[in-house]
C-alpha cells in the first residue's frame, strides 16, 4: 500500500483511440485503498475505457495514473499488473484453461510459482468461490454463474490488492448475480481489496461505497450510491433505474403516506 493510503490517483487523465474523438478528458480522482467504487454512466461515456486504463491494458494519452504510489507507465506496468486483477463481462471469453483448475493456475504459471504452491492456491481459492468440486470440469460443463466464479477465483488466486469488475454480472441470471454480489460484499468486508466495478446493477451500486458518474468523458458526479438513487435526473443520465423498494418508498412518500412498521422493504 502507498504511503498516502491511495490505491489510485488519477491526475488529468485523457485518452482517445483517435485524436478527433477524445473518450476521456482530464479526469482527476482518488480512490482510497480498501474502498469499493462504482463507475456508472450511459453507454459510450468512457467507463470501460477508464477500466482498461486502470488495469494497465491501455496507456494514457495525457495525465498520470498512480497505482499505490507508483506511476503507471510502460516501465512499471509489468511490475504493477500483479497488483491489479480484472474480471470481464463474458464468462466464456475469459476462460483460458481447458479445465477449471488450469484456468485458475494460468496466472500463477506466469508468476513462475512452484507447483506445490499453485496446487495449494488453486484449492484455496476454488474452495472460497465454492467451486472446489468442479476443478477438473471443462467450461462447457459449467453454468454462466459457475464460470464467472472461476474467473473471480482465477483473479483472487493471484492475490491482487485491486480488482476491477467490468460489467462482470451483466450476463448472469438473477440468482447467479445475487451470488456474485454476495462474494463482492464479502471481499469488501475483508478489507483486503480495493474494488472498482462498472455496472448497471442497482444492488451492486448500492452495496459499494461510492458512485462516480461519467458522462461525455468527464466525471459528472462523485457521490454516495444512496445520493445517486435519490437524484432522478442523474439516474436518467446514467440510464439507471432505482431498485423497486426505493421506487416504492418514493411513490408512497409522494402520496403523503408512510408504510406501517410491520412491513419492511428489504433487499431479497
Amino acid at each position: 500500500m502507498s504511503e498516502n493510503g491511495l490505491a489510485y490517483e488519477l491526475q488529468r487523465v485523457s485518452f482517445a483511440y483517435h485524436p478527433d474523438h477524445p473518450v476521456l478528458h482530464e479526469i482527476t480522482l482518488d480512490i482510497p485503498s480498501g474502498s469499493w467504487v462504482s463507475l456508472v454512466g450511459p453507454n459510450g461515456c468512457g467507463k470501460s475505457t477508464l477500466a482498461k486504463l486502470l488495469g494497465g491494458l491501455l496507456a494514457v494519452n495525457g495525465g498520470e495514473i498512480w497505482v499505490e504510489g507508483t506511476r503507471l507507465d510502460r516501465d512499471t506496468v509489468a511490475r504493477l499488473r500483479p497488483r491489479i486483477g480484472m474480471v470481464f463481462q463474458n464468462p466464456d471469453n475469459q476462460f483460458i484453461g481447458a479445465t477449471v483448475e488450469e484456468d485458475i493456475a494460468f496466472g500463477l504459471e506466469g508468476r513462475c510459482l512452484p507447483r506445490e504452491q499453485m496446487v495449494e492456491r488453486v484449492k484455496e481459492y476454488a474452495e472460497k468461490m465454492q467451486i472446489g468440486h468442479l476443478l477438473s470440469k471443462h467450461p462447457a460443463d459449467l453454468s454462466g454463474g459457475q464460470k464467472q466464479r472461476v474467473a473471480v477465483a482465477s483473479i483472487l488466486a493471484m492475490e491482487p490488492g485491486i480488482i476491477i469488475f467490468d460489467e462482470a454480472s451483466s450476463m448472469l441470471d438473477e440468482k447467479a448475480r445475487g451470488e456474485l454480489l454476495a462474494i463482492l460484499e464479502e471481499m469488501q468486508g475483508s478489507g483486503n481489496y480495493t474494488m472498482v466495478s462498472i455496472t448497471h446493477d442497482a444492488d451492486e451500486i448500492l452495496a459499494s461505497d461510492r458512485a462516480i458518474v461519467l458522462g461525455g468523458g468527464s466525471v459528472v458526479a462523485d457521490l454516495s450510491p444512496a445520493e445517486l438513487f435519490e437524484d432522478g435526473a442523474l439516474l436518467d443520465s446514467c440510464r439507471l433505474i432505482a431498485p423497486y423498494r426505493i421506487r416504492l418508498k418514493h411513490a408512497i412518500r409522494t402520496r403523503g403516506l408512510e408504510l406501517p412498521k410491520e412491513l419492511k422493504l428489504e433487499r431479497g
Binding site: 450511459p42 423497486y244 403516506l257 433487499r267
Partner: protein, 310 residues
C-alpha cells in the same frame, strides 16, 4: 388459433451416447393474442421450448401444434416455411446475427426470403423500424456502427419485418442498461396491445415484463413447473424459488402487503405506482391502517438499502 404441446419431449443428440434430454413431457396450451412470460433458471429448457414454436427444433416425442401446423415426433416434418414467417423467433443476442452492411438490407433479408418484392420489403423495413422506435435515418447506416441497444432493436425489427403473428424472444433485454430494458418491455407490450401480436418472452428477469404479461410459464429442469395467470403466479410465488428463480421484489412486497391487509384475492399491484395508489386507497378506507407521513419528519432515508446484508 393456439399453440398446443401434447406430451412433448426433446433430447439433443438423440441417437448418440451423449443424448441430452432438454424437455420432458411438456403439455401446454397458449391462446394466440396473449403476452406470455416463460421463466426458468439457466438450463431449465426454456430456450429449447422456444425453439419449438416455429419448428427449428422438432419434438423427439409427443405432438405439437402451432397455429395450423402439426408436428409429431417420428413423422416427416411438414413444410415449415409459412410457419417460420408467422412465428418470428428472436434468439439471444440477436445483434450478433446481423451481417449486411446497411440496416435496411439486414431488415429486408427475412421478407425477401419469404418472397416479398424488393419494394415491399423496403416498406416493411421502414415500418418495422418505426415499431422498435427507430426512425428512417437508420436505414442506410451500417449496423455494426450502432450502439449495442440500437443493434438489438434493429435485430428485433428484422424479425418484425416478416410480419409474424407470434413473436417469441429469448432474453431480449440481456446485458442492456436498465432504462433500455424497460423501454424494450414497453415496446413489446405496445406490439401486443396495438398490433395484436402474440408476444412470448423467455426470461429469468421476470420483474421487467411482470406489469405486461398476462400468462406465465415456469420451467424447471426440463419440466413445466407452473402455468397460469399473473395472479396465480403471485399466489404461488414460492414455486419460483423451488424452480431456482429469485422472487421478484414487486411480488414479494405485494404478498407482504396482501397478507397484512387481507388482499390475497385481489388482482396484484406489481408496479411501485400502482401499489402506492392501492395503499393510498386503503388509507382512506381503513383510516390509519396506512399512517400518513408526519409533516415534520425527515424524508425516508435509504438506510434500508443495506438492511438485507444482516
Amino acid at each position: 388459433m393456439s399453440i398446443d404441446f401434447e406430451q412433448v419431449s426433446f433430447a439433443y443428440d438423440e441417437h448418440s451416447l451423449w443424448r441430452n434430454s432438454a424437455l420432458e413431457q411438456i403439455s401446454l396450451h397458449l391462446e394466440t393474442g396473449v403476452f406470455a412470460g416463460i421463466a426458468g433458471a439457466s438450463g431449465s429448457g426454456k430456450s429449447t421450448l422456444m425453439q419449438h414454436f416455429n419448428g427449428i427444433l422438432k419434438p423427439t416425442e409427443g405432438k405439437l401444434r402451432v397455429l395450423d401446423v402439426t408436428m409429431q415426433a417420428g413423422d416427416k416434418a411438414p413444410p415449415l416455411r409459412e410457419l417460420r414467417r408467422r412465428v418470428g423467433l428472436v434468439f439471444q443476442f440477436p445483434e450478433q446475427q446481423l451481417f449486411e452492411d446497411t440496416v435496411e438490407k439486414d431488415i429486408c433479408f427475412g421478407p425477401l426470403n419469404f418472397g416479398c418484392t424488393p419494394d415491399e420489403a423496403k416498406q416493411r423495413a421502414r415500418r418495422a423500424l418505426s415499431l422498435v422506435g427507430l426512425d428512417d435515418s437508420f436505414l442506410p447506416r451500417n449496423p455494426f456502427h450502432l450502439s449495442g441497444g440500437q443493434m438489438r432493436k434493429v435485430a428485433i425489427a428484422s424479425v418484425l419485418a416478416m410480419e409474424p403473428d407470434i413473436i417469441a424472444l429469448d432474453e431480449p433485454a440481456a446485458t442492456l442498461d436498465p432504462q433500455s430494458r424497460s423501454e424494450l418491455a414497453s415496446m413489446l407490450s405496445r406490439l401486443h396491445r396495438e398490433e395484436g401480436k402474440t408476444v412470448l418472452v423467455v426470461t429469468h428477469r421476470m420483474e421487467e415484463i411482470l406489469p405486461f404479461a398476462d400468462q406465465w410459464i415456469v420451467m424447471e429442469d426440463g419440466h413445466k413447473s407452473f402455468q397460469g395467470s399473473v395472479k396465480e403466479l403471485v399466489q404461488e410465488a414460492g414455486r419460483l424459488q423451488a424452480s431456482g428463480l429469485a422472487i421478484p421484489d414487486c411480488i414479494r412486497y405485494w404478498n407482504e402487503v396482501a397478507a397484512h391487509y387481507g388482499l390475497e384475492e385481489e388482482e396484484p399491484c406489481l408496479t411501485a405506482e400502482s401499489l402506492a395508489d392501492r395503499l393510498a386507497v386503503l388509507s382512506d378506507q381503513v383510516g390509519n391502517a396506512v399512517t400518513p407521513l408526519p409533516k415534520e419528519e425527515a424524508p425516508l432515508g435509504l438506510e434500508t438499502s443495506r438492511e438485507g446484508d444482516g
